[in-house]
Symmetry: C2
């Protein structure tokens, strides 16, 4: 998905949000915003997906404020909250009429824990939503069938906290005897999960945890194939099923040419338009 001009105010709002997480010094916030505006001013093409620009914007924030991980505390809190919730989530899955469906829906719902796109959330409401709301029947049938046939599943993580919701589904895959590769960001970018988060969630017990990208300042809030590691690209080419979580991965990979199952909650009006669904909808969508 290309970047729209509507993303510009959003990049600036996010830069301010991230800066405020690092320092309360308003002069520094102003310097960051002006530097981000200088960068956005010289963008010659908005044809790249939003995560490509977001990568640069957040690198400016980190470098100007000399902070490697502005969202560190936010991620920690998201993880702790989700960790506490996890036994209840497992119980909901096991008690469900169709545990695999419930694990899938909860993995989608987990995507709402995204401080990058919203500031308040009520996880309990969202769990009720998972129980009461439906996902696309056809897409789900195809998803389940593909998983059943698969040997290797490449699962692209999105945010900290959310990864505990992914774990529910990954455990189901493991019970089915699948080989799972769980791709996370190599370096901190917004509130996206890194190896440290995946280990904290214990996902490494069920899956090989792999950083998707390489190098400094190359992590983006949606996996960009031009910065991906060769190991990741190998799985991307050869895995039997690819699952990509969140808006960022949808933005960066919806035109990849590879069959991908996208699992996300729609939060942004531009993604809503692109994916043809309302904001707040639980999405399971396959794109070939």
């Amino acid at each position: 998905m290309r970047t729209y001009l509507d993303c510009i105010p959003c990049f600036l709002r996010q830069s301010l949000e991230a800066s405020r997480m690092v320092t309360s010094n308003e002069t520094l916030h102003e310097i960051v915003l002006k530097k981000v505006m200088r960068y956005l001013q010289v963008i010659s093409s908005f044809n790249n997906p939003p995560p490509e620009l977001s990568k640069e914007v957040h690198a400016i924030v980190r470098n100007m404020l000399n902070c490697k991980d502005p969202y560190r505390e936010v991620k920690k809190k998201s993880n702790e909250m989700a960790n506490e919730l996890y036994p209840r989530l497992e119980q909901i899955v096991e008690e469900a009429k169709d545990p695999f469906l419930m694990a899938t829906k909860l993995a989608i719902i987990g995507n709402v824990i995204d401080f990058g796109a919203m500031n308040r959330f009520d996880v309990k409401d969202m769990i009720n939503k998972a129980i009461t709301e439906n996902i696309d029947d056809n897409a789900y049938s195809r998803f389940k069938e593909s998983i059943e046939k698969a040997q290797t599943i490449l699962y692209l993580a999105d945010n900290a906290g959310e990864i505990f919701f992914d774990k529910l589904l990954i455990k189901k895959f493991a019970e089915m005897g699948k080989r799972i590769v769980y791709a996370v960001k190599n370096n901190p970018i917004i509130n996206d999960a890194t190896i440290e988060d995946a280990k904290f969630a214990g996902i490494d017990k069920f899956a090989e945890v792999l950083p998707a990208d390489e190098g400094q300042d190359k992590s983006a809030p949606g996996i960009l194939l031009n910065y991906a590691s060769s190991k990741f690209l190998n799985y991307f080419r050869n895995a039997d099923v690819i699952i990509a979580k969140g808006q960022g991965n949808y933005e960066s990979l919806s035109n990849s040419g590879r069959e991908i199952f996208f699992l996300l909650v729609v939060k942004c009006p531009l993604v809503a338009r692109d994916i043809r669904a309302d904001i707040g909808k639980l999405i399971l969508k396959v794109i070939e």
Copy 2:
């Protein structure tokens, strides 16, 4: 009220909105946004109120797109909608237990018709709100008392459409034998009312309609005293009561040192914080 860094994304969002009203050419939208970012980048002080910066931002939009009034259609529609509603509004006032209170509340409610701050509204819901929601008792008592004692009332208009709601209150003032001066913007700025709008609403039958500012590109979405006409300033100094509608006038005049009755609906989180009220609240507030 000073400008906050949070206003930057909002200025850009508004510039894009205004540009889209003029043309569907995305290259032009991009040029406008970049030019606005260039302007915001060199701002050396955010101590001025937001309408001061907004004045410059919208002048860039108008000049770059060679369009004197991007919101012309929006204002026309707001006026037409409010005009159609007007007989019903008059009836609500006359049938109310306290018609003066109802006219005051409806004048506040009218402030929700603001395409500059929100895109969707349901006027009928808002009328119910006027009937059911209360305003500050103490401020209202003081307001009524001041009006009763006053000979000359200076009333600072806000938006097109909204002016029909002002008319309800202005008619009450006229029935009380008051002299009313209704100050509007000299030139188009966002969806703010100009002389043409005030005449369309027939306010000139009850009040002297006066452009508050002078010169080219000097109109701001909140009256700035340093660009005000001498005639306006004379009324501003000598009127017995000043009423200022909307967030813009609150932002530009809340520290004027003059007693002003502010009538508005809170729409922006920064105004909400400054005025110490929740978003959506009906505000009648006196500042000395």
